[in-house]
């Protein structure tokens, strides 16, 4: 056994061992697994990847397979040992002649430049070359948008068609997609196919790919309230999301600790509710930049403005918005959830969500609705009186529903759809048919909750197994990878109501110093689960590809942390 094998070995132990340092004995065991993996992997890949396709002659091409390491794995994939060379001096990404998109399509023009740089580094390093293109060269990638409207100036949506077909053959590769959203996904895949041979030359194998996402909603939640996240960190993570084919940025923008969203209608919200009114806020221009940066990458931005709980920071800027808590017969000076018995609360929400619905172009807003603490409501005599008047008895979840019901009507009037945390559904609030229920609780088991939500006919989104803020020692990506949103007892119709899931990185222990390496490549495990075919579940094969994929992210400037012992050709050069 030499260390080179050790280096590549996946740790196939799912519960992280308690021992402090690796022991040689364990390593020997791992190597036996590894040996098998190396011997069997073309077969594993063939079974996992090819749904009815003939699999190319991969035997003896293990190295290239390793180098390619597509992530997430495409739905249909056929490759051959035939390799073409790409010259950074002459290779071009171009609009196909038949394409409905052209040079005015800024999404594509930006993406061409971005992926060229990912593949070949800084443009300036390569003198434009006029030299002859050889027979074995790949001269260009033609991007062919087939539908009449390429959606160059649109926003991605839940209904976006992200499918694409990619054919790599001499002298040109062709990427075919109905519109820019599929083209973006295909460009990422193309860039992942390019590898360097032993001489440092850029190569790509003859390949055919037909790809589409398994789920339409593949999100990342970042929390900019518990810690303020500088714009730079948000943008870097949007870049990483695109590298993993995520398409939703769920921006948990405000919460109890701080209110960094700068509202035009209610400037006091951030003026008095942010950690600092100038340095720790998102200005309207910042928000626009996030939305545009995300649009360029086919990513939707869904803001969450969570009420009636999680609103401590709102109270600083808006008088009488929160419920005064009582200690005995007098106010204690502290405040609880939004006061649901005052008309002024609903007037405020009407104006506030009117603004939000114009600032954020996505068709959906996340309205929260989780973890409402009843103790303050219970202490307040006016609330108690209202409970009696309404005939709610002592069931405060009825009061919560009363609030949510009115809020949903307010938001529905802005023509937006809404997402809510599962409590809103659990408490029996009347919901529009297209409401998306976001499942996050550990009890009851999420499988039961997914079954219940879909049985009631609602769209469901899963996050429970993907709370990536929770960390433990060792390779926890394996359990993240194994979770499946459709793994519950239900009819096919129920399964179809599962629109996807989100990896959540709550901010109690996370800020700009540690967010990116904590999120990546652990979120990549979620990315593959939500994009690739249901049958793609082989952990050993995933380990090999993910090791390469994280090195690819590192090479592109994302400080994605290592999965285990080993190295990248280009290590992270930041701090």
């Amino acid at each position: 056994m030499t260390w080179v094998e050790v280096n590549a070995a996946p740790e196939l132990i799912h519960t992280p061992p308690l021992r402090l340092k690796q022991k040689s004995a364990d390593r020997t065991a791992l190597n036996t697994d590894m040996y098998c993996l190396l011997k069997c992997s073309p077969l594993i890949l063939a079974v996992a990847v090819c749904h009815g396709w003939l699999f190319g002659d991969f035997v003896g091409k293990q190295k290239e397979l390793d180098e390619i390491s597509l992530w997430p794995l495409p739905q249909k994939f056929q490759s051959s040992a035939v390799a073409f060379k790409l010259s950074p001096g002459s290779f071009q990404i171009v609009h196909a002649k038949q394409s409905s998109a052209g040079p005015s399509c800024s999404i594509l023009v930006n993406a061409f430049r971005r992926y060229f740089e990912y593949m070949f580094g800084d443009l300036k390093k390569h003198e434009k070359s006029r030299k002859k293109v050889y027979d074995s060269d790949l001269a260009e990638l033609q991007v062919w948008i087939t539908s009449a409207d390429p959606e160059c100036d649109g926003y991605p949506s839940l209904q976006a068609d992200e499918s694409y077909e990619l054919s790599v053959d001499e002298p040109s590769a062709v990427l075919k997609a109905a519109n820019v959203w599929g083209a973006l996904r295909g460009l990422e895949t193309f860039s992942q196919l390019v590898y360097r041979d032993d001489y440092g030359a850029n190569n790509i194998n003859k390949t055919d790919i037909s790809d589409f996402p398994r789920f339409a909603h593949r999100g990342i939640l970042l929390d900019s309230s518990r810690h303020f996240l500088p714009l730079k960190v948000i943008l870097a993570n949007l870049e990483a999301m695109a590298m993993n084919k995520f398409n939703v940025f769920h921006w948990h923008i405000v919460d109890d600790p701080s209110f960094p969203y700068m509202s035009r209608t209610f400037p006091d919200l951030s003026q008095k509710g942010a950690y600092h009114p100038f340095t720790h806020v998102y200005t309207p221009s910042d928000v626009k930049m996030v939305i545009e940066f995300a649009r360029m990458r086919g990513i939707r931005v869904i803001p969450e403005f969570d009420t009636p709980g999680h609103t401590q920071s709102w109270g600083n800027g808006i008088k009488n918005l929160l419920t005064p808590c009582y200690s005995g017969s007098s106010p204690s000076g502290t405040f609880g959830p939004v006061n649901p018995i005052l008309n002024s609360s609903y007037d405020f929400m009407t104006q506030f969500f009117k603004e939000i619905s114009t600032v954020f172009p996505d068709a959906y807003i996340h309205l929260g609705g989780d973890e409402v603490d009843f103790s303050c409501w219970k202490s307040n005599p006016d609330i108690k009186k209202f409970m009696v008047q309404q005939g709610f008895g002592t069931d405060y979840s009825k009061l919560e529903s009363f609030y949510i019901q009115r809020l949903l009507d307010i938001v529905a009037a802005t023509k937006k759809g809404y997402m809510v945390w599962q409590e809103v559904f659990d408490n029996g609030v009347k919901l529009k048919a297209d409401t998306q229920i976001h499942v996050w609780k550990e009890r009851p088991q999420y499988q039961d909750e997914m079954a219940k939500v879909t049985a009631a006919g609602f769209n469901a989104l899963l996050s429970t197994p993907w709370y990536l803020n929770r960390i433990s020692y060792g390779q926890d990506w394996v359990n993240i990878y194994k979770a499946d949103p459709q793994n519950f007892t239900g009819t096919d119709a129920q399964k179809k109501l599962v629109i996807g899931g989100e990896a959540c990185l709550w901010g109690e222990y996370v800020d700009a110093t540690n967010l990116t390496p904590r999120l990546w490549p652990r979120a990549s495990a979620v990315a593959e689960r939500l994009w690739s075919d249901k049958s793609v579940t082989d952990v050993g094969n995933a380990y090999k590809r993910l090791v390469q994929h994280r090195c690819r992210m590192v090479k592109r400037g994302i400080p994605a942390e290592p999965l285990f012992v080993g190295h990248c050709r280009q290590e992270y050069m930041g701090l």
Copy 2:
């Protein structure tokens, strides 16, 4: 309750809760604690800090106390509400007239510049001002080295005197130390005393400090074998170490996975044993730079070359160094620990450690000796024959001791002292009286091991509770902080044999992408335990200071992760 209080609240729960998001109810509880902490903190500080000193009039000066946030807390500390202003345009750090050190003392000159920049930012931003110094200004800090030899050109050592006295009063502050090592610690403390008032002006309170470390050996172990650590990362962490008064960099430079140390005598070790022979190695010049960078900060560099186990990567470059393992009656092609029955092994070690003893100036080398796996030795017929010849029976720990004994003789001949992991002591190897035993195992309990080691008359170092590579969700710094190396049953003489401890960050899951935020500020908890008085154990008070100290590290460019919800005035601006 407003969010501002929530933001500052320490989570006083020692086992991290399983709930996924903070609940308002818990927050209310926390705030009650917080309220008490705010009310009582001057008292807590007085008890914790002042050993027989009169405590200044701190009542009403809570803000300044918060801002100051010394870390680690000095041994004796007296401050008053009287504040002086510092002008970056005129303030100077100078050699005192009586000082035995002057402008040729590069350690001090470099430190003056470094700490000036930490306090006031880039030098260039401040025009040198000739304006009048006001009565309320602090004009300068005089650094007074009192011993005849300031040790400007020396290396720090186990015996270094790191004590200092600091007096801040108008018109000058005076820092008095026997030599440069104490002066470096005092400069760090001085820089921590400077705070900005509400107008952004630099202030420092009238203060007297008399300070010295509780333990002489306060180390950080970094592992550059499981992942290669670029020089930049090592240097940044040496900077952070100095900010926390650590004085030993234990460089676990090679191990099974890779051999990045470039040896002049045996270039094949890294040529064939590193992840890459050019990009993933430490050249002699790199090693020199690390040692000099550390010297400038009063930090010793102790390299570890662990044998006879943990040596897989050595085998690539040195033929016949490792034991061939057998499968039945024939060699299996894999290798075990260093072959202890060949003279060539000892010839190699003699030459190799001769080089190491000249490259690393410190008086100590760490020789490892941990986790020797006997299975390969047991499989090898030549080893078995040797066991019979030597009368070892089937006790392979006798063979291990046989090897270690000869190795210790080889290293002793280079005039170096040695540190070893506890197994070497546990196995009864005959050791020189000044050998340092490094305790790391969880079983038997480290308290028992510390008692045994010191009862046998050896110096002991603790690492068991400080394996910082092991992570869990929540505020694990609290248990790190509570561990005490002298917390075992033994005589005073035994306690005096405890020379300190080390925080270890093993590299299985750590590289340049995540090392720094994973280490800081968790290692800061170890720093205070090893520097400050034994009585400094108040977790609530530590939380408040550590929150500020980590923001100070962030301001100085170290991406130290947050302890909990909140913000820094200047957030981390890297990625």
